[in-house]
Symmetry: C2
Subunit: 330 residues, 2 copies
C-alpha cells in the first residue's frame, strides 16, 4: 500500500522466504515449498480439522532481547498446547510475521532455527505464511492445524457433577520464571532460577498424553489464563461448580521456595502455564493414571466438579482468596 | 506476560469477544460461539483443505483513519481472493487481532459490522480467533480456510508453452485508487475518484468464477504483487516465459484518464488488485468465456505462454519498460 519499507539489515520478502522459511516447508505435501499462494491439505478420511490461532507480541508476550529461537518455539508451542488439550495430532502451521526494521537476517535465521527444532520434535511442518514490514512492534501470529483423534473432541463444555478435576505437570512454574526474569529469586540456586525461566520460555505441549486421555475426559483445556481462571471457563461453559483442593495443586519445589507461604495462591493465578486441566468421570481415573505413567507426565487429581457455579480454592475446607482471578493481555 | 495493558476505551478481552465477535461465529458448527479454545471442522468427504494467512498492518496496508468496516472487509477479502484463484469454496476464517490503545469499542463495533456484512456476502463464519493488546500498530491477521472444489487445485506451476494468459476485471484500479487517496486525480469526476478508491479499499474476490474456471486453468493466482510480478511468479515456477500484449490489458476508463499515456505500465506494476491471473490451454477458451458470461465477470485474454523465462510486456511487438517489476511490503 504505502511504499515498501525496506530494511537494509535483511533480505527482501521473496529472498527471505526462499532462504529461511522454504526449508521449513520442505517435505510437507501441499506446502509447495512456499512457492504457491495457499496450502492444500488432504486430511485422513473422516478426520476432523482442529484449528487454533494465537499471536505473540513484542513487549507484551516477549522482549526484543529474548533469544529468537525461544520466541519462535514459544509462539508455536502455545498453539500446539491448545491442540494437545483437545487430543489433536498436529499437522503443521501457518505463520504470519510483522517485522519491524530492527529485525535483521541474523534474527530471522535464529528464529527459523527455533522453528526447525520444534518441527522435528513434534513432527510438523510450516505449511504457509505471510511476512510484512511493520512500523510497530514484532508480531508473530501462528495458526496451528491438526486432526482430532478422539471420536468426540474434548471441549470446555462437558464437565458434570461428580467428575474429578486433574492437571498435568506442575503449576506456577512459568509464573515463577517470569518473576525471576523480573529480578526475584535471589534465594534460589542458579539451577532453580534457570529451570523456572525455561519453564516460562519453553512450555511443553502435552501432545502425546493429550491424545491418550482425549477419549477419557469430560472437559479439557490448556492453562493459559491461569489455573483458576481456566477452570472457571470449564465451570461456566459446562454449567457446574469446581472445587479445587489447594494442598493438591502440584508445585515445583523451586517456585515453592520462591513464593513461600503464598505459593499456592500465586500458582493458581499464574498464566502462561500451558499444562492441561481436565475433568473426567471417576471410573476413568485408573486409565488416566496409566496414560500418565506411559508418557511420564505427572497428572494430579486436584478437585471435584459440583453442582452450582464458579471455582473455589479450598484449604482445609475453607475458601482461599486468590490474587487475581483472570489473566488477560488487556 | 508483562502486566496487562488495559485500554479504558474498550471492554476487556472476554467481554469484547462475547459482545462483538461471538455473534460472528453464531451458526458455525465447530466454532462453539468462540467459547472453546479451538475450532473443530468436519470437511466434506475427500475434500482438500485450502488454507491461507495474510496480515494487514496499520500504516503499511491501511491508515488509522480508514473506515473500520472497510479495513475488516479488505483484511478478509485479500485472503478470500487467494481462495478464489485456487477454486476453493470458503468455509470460514480465524482472526488474530493486535490492538493498540487507541482502538475503542466504537472502532471494534464498526470493524465487526464490516466482517458481518462480508460473512453474509460470502456465506462464511468466524471460526476462532485471538485478541491481544499491542504497544505497536493495529495488526490484523486473517487465516482463511476453504475446501478445494477442483480435482486438481490450480497452482502457480502448470503453465505450458502455447497456453493463453487471462486476467479478470480491470487492472490498475486499486493502484489508481491509492494514487487518488494520495491527492492525485484532480481531473477526475468525484464519481470516478470514488470508484477507484472503492476498488482499492474493497477488492472483489472472484470466488464463483474461480470455482467455475478451476478445472479449466493450467496455472492461477491472484494479482497482489502486481500483474507483471505475479505473472512472473507463474513463469518462474512453471519454467516458462510469458508474453503480455500491453494493448490487451483491461483498464478502467477512470484510471486511463488519471494516468494518460503511462496507464498501461502503471497498471501492470500496481499491486493490491486482487483479480485472478491465469493460464489455460487454447481449447479451454470457449468454456472460460462461458464462465465469464455466466458470472458477469469480465475475463480478458492478454497474452501467451512461451518457452523461455520471464515476462515481457509487448507494445506493437516491442518490449515496454515497466516502472517496478515487483511489489513487496519490504
Amino acid at each position: 500500500m504505502t511504499n515498501s519499507r525496506s530494511s537494509p539489515r535483511r533480505l527482501g520478502e521473496f529472498a527471505m522466504i526462499a532462504k529461511y522459511f522454504a526449508p521449513l516447508a520442505k517435505g510437507a505435501k501441499g506446502a509447495f515449498d512456499l512457492k504457491d499462494d495457499v496450502a492444500v491439505l488432504e486430511l485422513p478420511k473422516g478426520a476432523k480439522l482442529i484449528a487454533k490461532v494465537d499471536a505473540v507480541v513484542e513487549d507484551v508476550h516477549f522482549f526484543r532481547s529474548d533469544p529468537p529461537d525461544l520466541i519462535a518455539q514459544k509462539a508455536l508451542r502455545v498453539n500446539l498446547s491448545d491442540l494437545a488439550a483437545k487430543g489433536a495430532l498436529p499437522l503443521g502451521y501457518l505463520l504470519s510475521l510483522s517485522l519491524p526494521s530492527w529485525v535483521d537476517n541474523a534474527w530471522i535465521a535464529a528464529f527459523a532455527r527455533g522453528l526447525a527444532k520444534d518441527q522435528k520434535r513434534y513432527g510438523i511442518h510450516l505449511l504457509g505464511g505471510d511476512t510484512t514490514a511493520t512500523p510497530g512492534v514484532l508480531t508473530i501470529s501462528v495458526t496451528a492445524l491438526g486432526v482430532g483423534t478422539a471420536k468426540k473432541t474434548p471441549r470446555r463444555a462437558g464437565a458434570a457433577p461428580g467428575d474429578l478435576v486433574f492437571v498435568t505437570g506442575t503449576i506456577g512454574d512459568a509464573g515463577a520464571g517470569l518473576a525471576v526474569l523480573k529480578g526475584k529469586g535471589a534465594s534460589l540456586t542458579k539451577l532453580e532460577r534457570d529451570t523456572l525461566i525455561r519453564r516460562y520460555r519453553l512450555p511443553e505441549p502435552r501432545l502425546v498424553l493429550g491424545r491418550l486421555i482425549a477419549p477419557l475426559v469430560s472437559a479439557s483445556l490448556d492453562v493459559s489464563d491461569g489455573l483458576i481462571a481456566d477452570l472457571d471457563h470449564i465451570a461456566e461453559v459446562s454449567g457446574v461448580a469446581i472445587d479445587v483442593d489447594a494442598s493438591s495443586i502440584p508445585l515445583h519445589k523451586a517456585s515453592r521456595k520462591l513464593w513461600g507461604g503464598g505459593a499456592v495462591a500465586k500458582a493458581a493465578a499464574a498464566g502462561d502455564e500451558y499444562e492441561i486441566a481436565f475433568t473426567a468421570r471417576p471410573r476413568a481415573h485408573a486409565a488416566i493414571a496409566a496414560a500418565a505413567r506411559r508418557t511420564k507426565v505427572k497428572v494430579t487429581h486436584i478437585g471435584t466438579v459440583q453442582e452450582g457455579k464458579g471455582v473455589r480454592l479450598l484449604k482445609n475446607g475453607r475458601s482461599v482468596r486468590i490474587e487475581r482471578a483472570g489473566y488477560t493481555h488487556f
